[in-house]
Symmetry: C2
Subunit: 192 residues, 2 copies
C-alpha cells in the first residue's frame, strides 16, 4: 500500500458516462473525458484503461442501473408494487417521454445509442447490448405471462421495438404530444 486514490471512482465513471451518452463514442475525445472527470490523462488510464475500455465500463454501469430498474418495474417490485400490467407498460414507455418532458434531455437511451453506433462494429459491445435486450425482453415476457398471454414473448420483443423507436423519434425532435399519443394507442392495442 502507498498513496491512496484521491478521486471517487464511481463519480468518475458517472462523469464519463454522461459525456459518452451526450456525444457518442467517436464524438468524444479523451480530452473531453479528462475535463469532465477533472482528472489527468494518466489517472484515467491507470484506473480504467483506454477510451474503448472506458466506454465499455460506462455502458456496463448504465445497463446495470437502467435494466435493473426496468426489471423491477416489469416484476412489480418496489416502487412498481401494485401496478397493473398496463400501468407498468405505461411507465416503461414513459421513460422515453419523461426524459424530454421533465429534463429536456435528448441524449436518448444510452443502450439504444450504443446499439446504433457501435454494436455492428464491435462484438463485445454487441454482446453487452444483446444481453441487455434479452433481460428487458425476458422481464416483459414474464409480465405478459402474468395475464396468461400466449404470445408473451413476441409481444415483449415488439414492445421493446416500440420503446426504441420512441427513443429515436425523441432524438429526432418529435413532440411530447406525438410520443404520448403513441404510448396511448399502444396501451389500448396491446391489451384487447
Amino acid at each position: 500500500m502507498a498513496r491512496l486514490r484521491e478521486f471517487d471512482e464511481a463519480k468518475a465513471i458517472t462523469a464519463v458516462q454522461n459525456v459518452f451518452w451526450e456525444k457518442g463514442y467517436e464524438g468524444t475525445s479523451y480530452a473531453d473525458l479528462t475535463t469532465a472527470t477533472g482528472l489527468g490523462k494518466g489517472s484515467l488510464y491507470a484506473a480504467f484503461g483506454n477510451k474503448r475500455a472506458l466506454y465499455i465500463k460506462a455502458l456496463s454501469v448504465y445497463i446495470e442501473q437502467e435494466v435493473s430498474l426496468a426489471e423491477l418495474l416489469f416484476a412489480g417490485i418496489g416502487p412498481a408494487n401494485g401496478l397493473s400490467t398496463s400501468e407498468r407498460v405505461q411507465h416503461f414507455l414513459g421513460l422515453a417521454i419523461e426524459a424530454i418532458e421533465k429534463r429536456d434531455d435528448r441524449r436518448g437511451c444510452f443502450l439504444c445509442n450504443a446499439s446504433v453506433e457501435l454494436a455492428p462494429h464491435d462484438g463485445e459491445i454487441e454482446d453487452l447490448v444483446t444481453a441487455a435486450h434479452d433481460r428487458l425482453t425476458k422481464g416483459l415476457t414474464a409480465l405478459f405471462d402474468e395475464n396468461g398471454d400466449e404470445k408473451s414473448r413476441v409481444k415483449a420483443d415488439r414492445l421493446l421495438a416500440v420503446y426504441l423507436g420512441m427513443r429515436v423519434l425523441a432524438k429526432a425532435g418529435s413532440s411530447i404530444a406525438t410520443l404520448s399519443a403513441i404510448r396511448e394507442i399502444e396501451l389500448e392495442h396491446s391489451f384487447l
Copy 2:
C-alpha cells in the same frame, strides 16, 4: 468554360453516402471520403464543400430516394399497385428485415442513424430528419385513411416507431426470426 469535370458527381455522392452510412459522421474522416470516391481532397472540396456539407448532401439524397419509394409503396403506386393495406405495411417493415436477410447489411437506416447521432446537435439535420419523418407519417396516415381508420395519424406515428425500433434491433444483432415475428404480430394487431 474550361476543363470539364472528370468524375461522375452522382457516383461520388453515392460513394460518400455509403461511407457515412457505414461509419457514421464522426467515424468518417475526410481521407475515408477521398479513398471511397477516388478523388483528391481539392476536387471534393471544390465540388461539395466541407465534411458536414458532404454529409448533408448524402443524407438529402438518401432521403429523397428512400422516402420517395416508401411514399409510392404507401400510396399503392408502381410496384405496389394492387397491394392491400396490410401488404403495404408488411413491405414497409420488411425493409428492416430484408437488409439483414438478403444483404447481411447492418448499416441500418441512414435516416435513423442520422436521427440518433446528429439530430440532437445539429438543427439543419434535425430539420431534414423531421421533414422525412413527416413525409413518411403523412403517407402512412393516408394509407390508414383508405380504410376509414379514425386514428390513422396516431397509428402512422406508432408504425414509424415500430419501424425505427426494428432498425435499432437489427443493428444490435436481433435475429431474422425475432424481427419477422415482430412484423407478424404487428400486422395482426394493427388491423383488427
